[in-house]
């Protein structure tokens, strides 16, 4: 029955591609979280009237974030080919997609981190300072816990954007469902492969959204 409806779908290949997409999304989301968070915190602390207020660092970080956030992802991948080659000695495979995925997504997430941190009540930071807290204590015990719901919902949005990025990365040879849909589906006119790949990508997106929303709600004690 399924064979008749989807004559060209090789389920083993489909499963492999799904795992590759999941792998790329998970790795990229994890590293984007760390790098984006660090950039976002740096932006926040160096912005005017904050603990490390510093015009030069704030401007440089802001410029870096804005530039990489603005380059269309498909162009960013191409621009980063020499960098990836230098870093990993190859431009093929799931790992080769990671530098571009992270450099594309981390600035995007950094902006969301900045927005999340700005939402924190200034009084709470002042209270922590009045208790004699060090800046590191303020970061770990005030900034991060107090902005956690916004950090998580931002991460959900970023992870979903990354699923889309992995599909684009797939087109230039990174593997995954995007690669399968494009090479096996589109270029060989096998619509069933394209459709099944799309459905799987949608499923991944829905699951990420659902899990992200659930964790965000649980983290919010306001």
């Amino acid at each position: 029955m399924i064979e008749n409806l989807l004559p060209n779908v090789d389920w083993e290949k489909m499963w492999e591609a799904t795992l590759e997409t999941l792998y790329m999304t998970a790795m990229a989301t994890g590293l984007t979280f760390i790098i984006g968070l660090a950039l976002g915190i740096l932006l926040f602390l160096t912005s005017p009237h904050q603990l490390w207020a510093n015009k030069i660092v704030y401007w440089l970080t802001g410029a870096f974030v804005n530039i990489f956030r603005s380059i269309p992802f498909i162009i960013l991948i191409i621009l980063l080919i020499p960098f990836t080659k230098f870093l990993l000695d190859t431009i093929r495979g799931a790992n080769a997609a990671l530098p571009a995925l992270i450099i594309g997504a981390a600035p995007f997430y950094a902006r969301m981190v900045l927005i999340a941190l700005r939402e924190i009540d200034k009084g709470v930071i002042e209270a922590a300072r009045s208790m004699g807290a060090k800046t590191s204590t303020i970061i770990w015990k005030v900034l991060l816990p107090e902005s956690l719901p916004a950090l998580l919902s931002g991460l959900t949005v970023t992870a979903i954007a990354l699923v889309g990025y992995t599909a684009m990365a797939g087109i230039i040879g990174a593997g995954g469902l995007g690669n399968l849909a494009f090479l096996d589906g589109f270029q060989r006119s096998r619509e069933d492969v394209t459709i099944v790949s799309t459905i799987l990508i949608l499923l991944i997106v829905f699951v990420i959204q659902w899990v992200g929303d659930a964790i965000t709600t649980k983290a919010d004690k306001r």
Binding site: G132, E146, K221
Partner: protein
């Protein structure tokens, strides 16, 4: 305990320089509850933030318990802050932490071990009357309860000074009274020096020993609360005193009273401190053949005693009235005859 010398703070704003605190000299004694009152924009918020180094002065110095806060920085300033804690108008609790975790926060900052933290948190929760609410999040508490958490948190590291930044301004009158009572209780029990800023004169009346009145960055009047209430000198001080006493409405009714009580004499008595406790009135009635009619009055309690105003109509034989008024003049009660027949 606290010495402010020639203290000034200027801010550079888009519209030029703003002088928030202008050459302030204040000394606060150990164990005292010292109030600073002013309208918003008077510079009192900036002043209180200079006391724990949240703001750095442009000129002058702040010394708390022998340490010059205004020139401290880094670790020295952070340790000093553990002894000069602060509570806030909007409580500033961490919503992500429960009541006990919020109270534990300053102890974590001070590097206290986990078991000792738990012990201390338990003590503090009892002290501020929050037993049973340990696991609640701030969002589940009322305003008064939130401020109790704020107070417990501020007391965690056994501070020497407690700074109150409009601590009751976001609370309803009843809760305000309860929090003020808690502050007085803490002041007496722990011998804590309290500096509070407010725009509400009844807060000053209820709990402060001394008060400074601020206007446009300057301290325009300072003295014991009784003295300020009895003889306010500056127009702004008079306005603040009127918040509690309402003399303007009273003076309107005085004209009324004169009409209403055409016979005898209308006398205004001002009681301050100890005098309030003495039975002046009953002696007056016993010793002189006069009718005494209480027309209007109010007596209020402050931390250094009571003060109040009483309007009497004294009627009867004119010689007896004069004698009665002489008696009152002899009693060290401020006496003023308002109307004559």
């Amino acid at each position: 305990m606290i010495q402010l010398q020639n203290l000034s703070k200027r801010f550079d704003t888009a519209n030029g320089q703003l002088i928030a605190v202008d050459n302030v000299n204040v000394t606060v004694d150990t164990g005292e509850i010292f109030g600073i009152i002013g309208y918003s924009g008077a510079g009192k918020s900036t002043l209180i933030r200079l006391l724990n180094g949240l703001e750095k002065p442009t000129a002058g110095s702040v010394t708390v318990n022998g340490q010059e806060i205004s020139s401290s920085s880094g670790q020295a300033l952070r340790s000093a802050r553990q002894k000069v804690s602060m509570i806030f108008q909007h409580f500033n609790l961490l919503w992500s932490r429960t009541v006990e975790e919020n109270i534990s926060f300053p102890l974590e900052i001070a590097g206290i071990s986990k078991t000792k933290r738990a012990e201390r948190v338990k003590e503090l929760i009892e002290l501020v009357g929050l037993t049973g609410r340990e696991k609640a999040y701030p969002s589940q508490l009322s305003g008064g309860q939130k401020q109790r958490v704020g107070i417990a948190r501020a007391l965690a590291n056994n501070p020497e000074v407690l700074l109150c930044d409009e601590a009751t301004s976001a609370l309803d009158p009843e809760t305000t009274d309860a929090i003020l009572e808690l502050l007085v209780d803490i002041n007496k029990r722990l011998g804590l020096t309290i500096v509070l800023i407010t725009h509400e004169m009844h807060v000053i009346r209820k709990i402060c020993h001394r008060v400074a009145v601020m206007e446009a960055g300057k301290v325009v009047e300072m003295g014991s609360v009784l003295q300020i209430f009895q003889t306010p000198e500056q127009p702004i001080t008079k306005r603040f005193v009127a918040q509690v006493n309402g003399p303007e409405s009273a003076s309107q009714t005085i004209a009324h009273l004169v009409e209403q009580y055409p016979t005898g004499k209308l006398v205004k008595l001002v009681f301050v401190g100890d005098r309030t406790e003495q039975p002046i009135l009953s002696r007056l009635i016993k010793q002189y053949q006069v009718e005494v009619n209480i027309v209007q009055g109010n007596i209020a309690q402050t931390q250094n005693g009571a003060y109040g105003t009483l309007y009497l109509q004294i009627d009867g034989d004119s010689i007896a009235i004069d004698q009665a008024i002489d008696y009152l003049h002899g009693q060290e009660v401020q006496t003023e005859v308002i109307s004559n027949d």
